[in-house]
């Protein structure tokens, strides 16, 4: 696997509170991830786990508090000139969650795509831009493309609009698309089509995708690798089937046990977890899951667990799992 993007101890804090009650929200702490070429990586976690903050850090919407992002081996913080910033934005575009508010309603579909082309690929002539717009709409399955170009956003369904979002990204010839909850606003019957489209784009266009989701089951259908976040830190990461089949972190086990599955019998157990993820404000050292974890030991209250390798390419940040003990916390 050729590495495309890597983050090294990526950290983002936010100052909150007034002048007298300065506190720090740790949205993302020490996140080191790697995304390969032609790879779909799913980033899963509950709301507030820091997954969207990572998306914005990668898209350079936020500056990291500390840590670094390397894109094709080059540090992203070194990007200074307008030209380099445009180039990076074209190589790493974002697709947003809400297809109803992410496309300008007063312009035709052609507007957004052609504008992106004009800005990022100025070498193209007008007819070339149009041909390119038609090509990318075809790629995302919006046909007849020439006709779709002339439509207004309100004439398209939510699923179609979200495909337009991907088409706009593809027009920039990206290497990595950062997709923040791209299907969570869509109906169930529409979602699968979009997920399948993402895998097709990976296979036919060689693009990598960071698929951010709270729906861990959908991650299984698109992703090669899965990263599970909890309270701003990585809890577990590895090949998607390995993580789902043998989750090592108690939180991953909790998350998986909570996914509703009509095909399986329901188990309401006495120890069914009713906790909620913390907002991480001025945290003390220790595992952030310890308050909800039935397996927590003394060490979990004092030392923040680092990711350690427990199986080939499969890491978890858990003291109990690292000690070699079998982890069966939930499910």
């Amino acid at each position: 696997m050729t590495e495309l993007l890597r983050t090294e101890r990526l950290t983002r804090h936010f100052k909150i509170g007034g002048a007298l009650s300065r506190r720090t929200l740790h949205a993302v702490d020490d996140v080191s991830i790697s995304i390969g070429e032609r790879q779909i990586v799913a980033l899963a976690g509950e709301s507030g786990s820091g997954k969207s903050t990572i998306a914005r850090l990668l898209a350079k919407v936020y500056k990291p508090t500390s840590g670094e992002i390397y894109f094709q081996g080059q540090p992203v913080s070194a990007i200074r000139s307008r030209q380099d910033r445009l180039r990076y934005a074209g190589l790493v575009p974002m697709v947003f969650q809400d297809p109803f508010s992410s496309i300008n309603p007063v312009f035709r579909i052609s507007h957004g795509i052609l504008r992106g082309l004009k800005l990022h690929r100025p070498e193209l002539s007008r007819p070339q831009r149009r041909a390119e717009a038609i090509r990318v709409l075809d790629l995302v399955g919006l046909t007849p493309a020439a006709e779709v170009l002339q439509r207004f956003p309100h004439e398209l369904s939510g699923g179609q609009r979200q495909r337009v979002g991907f088409a706009q990204a593809l027009a920039l010839r990206p290497k990595l698309i950062v997709a923040d909850e791209p299907v969570s606003m869509l109906d169930v019957s529409i979602r699968i089509g979009l997920l399948n489209m993402m895998t097709e784009l990976r296979d036919s266009q060689g693009v990598s995708i960071l698929y951010i989701t709270h729906d861990i089951a959908s991650a299984r259908y698109v992703a090669d690798r899965l990263i599970v976040m909890y309270a701003g830190r990585i809890a577990e990461q590895g090949p998607v089937e390995d993580v789902l089949a043998s989750p090592r972190h108690p939180y991953t086990q909790l998350l998986l046990s909570a996914v509703p599955d009509p095909r399986a019998p329901l188990t309401i157990t006495a120890e069914t977890d009713r906790g909620e993820p913390p907002r991480v404000i001025d945290p003390t050292p220790g595992c952030r899951f310890r308050w909800r974890c039935p397996l927590a030991i003394d060490e979990c209250h004092q030392v923040t667990p680092e990711l350690s390798r427990l199986a080939p390419e499969h890491d978890a940040a858990c003291h109990v799992a690292r000690s070699g003990a079998e982890v069966r916390a939930f499910g």
């Binding site: 709301s47 109906d187 399948n196 729906d215 089951a217 909790l254 996914v259």
Partner: protein, 348 residues
Amino acid sequence: MAHARADVNPRSAGSGPAAGPMLAARDLSVEYATDRGPVVAVDRVTFDLDQGEFIGIVGESGCGKSTLLFAIAQLLVPPASVTGGSVTFKGQSMVGLTEKDLAAIRWKDMSVVMQSAMNALNPVKSIGAQFKDAMRAHGVTSREQIAGRSAEVLKMVGIDPVHLKSYPHQLSGGMRQRSMIAMAMLFTPDLVIMDEPTSALDVVAQRSLMIQIKELQQEFGFAVIFVTHDMSLVSHFSDRLMVMYAGQVAELGATRRVFDSPLHPYSAGLMEAFPSIRGPRLKLTGIPGSPPDLARPPQGCRFAPRCPKVMARCETTPPDLYQVDGTEVRCFLHEGANGLATVTQGEE
């Protein structure tokens, strides 16, 4: 935990068991008046709900499930209005009741829990003050009674009663939704109507809320109408399941039966569209196309343009609801059927 059924109702109307089902909707239709003419959002929906029963209503956005629920609770506002059929709740017709009559029923006999607790709760009033308003509206004036019952219902949903003094923004999403449910429990109603109460929550919080609702229901015996777009969510909780498509009932039957052997191609398609984290990784297909524009519904079966089992007559003739072994299904495949055929699609 055993909580006594609260008897804080001064007019203590003995909700005697009325003859027939507790709630009965008959051919209920709702139309929206639009510039392009009336749009039938709910088309002749009929179902019964017994004391203590849990019915799940599922469908995609725009299928009319929330409109149906609003019609039952008499919460429709223009341009929407009930244009046909009836809703009978505990022997009383709901359609045409005045606001005053409705006010007497709401919270006491029937509570509604809305989708977004963030918007349903008043942001400038503490949780306790909002509980107090609901109780005073029904004539409970004793401060001890109000404080006692408020603390009790909050404990029932697993929230520390100190939060009676909290404002909505100080609570997490899960706690806001729980306090809405607590508020719905103030008078221990016979029917609790829920419109996607868990859709803003994460899976873990979602499951814990569902279990909470089920436990409360088992303890107090109220009936639940639960509207959701997520079929898998209700799979373990509802007794019966109604699948709606384009304003109509596509299938209505025992939840387990609908999941195990869906009769309508649309229900079958919905099942196939759910990714599962267990078992083998199947290729999923979803359902191609999108739901019809209700201002111009297809002439025949409304699902025909997306249906993998479509036949010639589906394009021209709208199917009726057919009875198959106690299940109702709107599909010609089951017209006069013996109930043996089940449809599956997209299997590989």
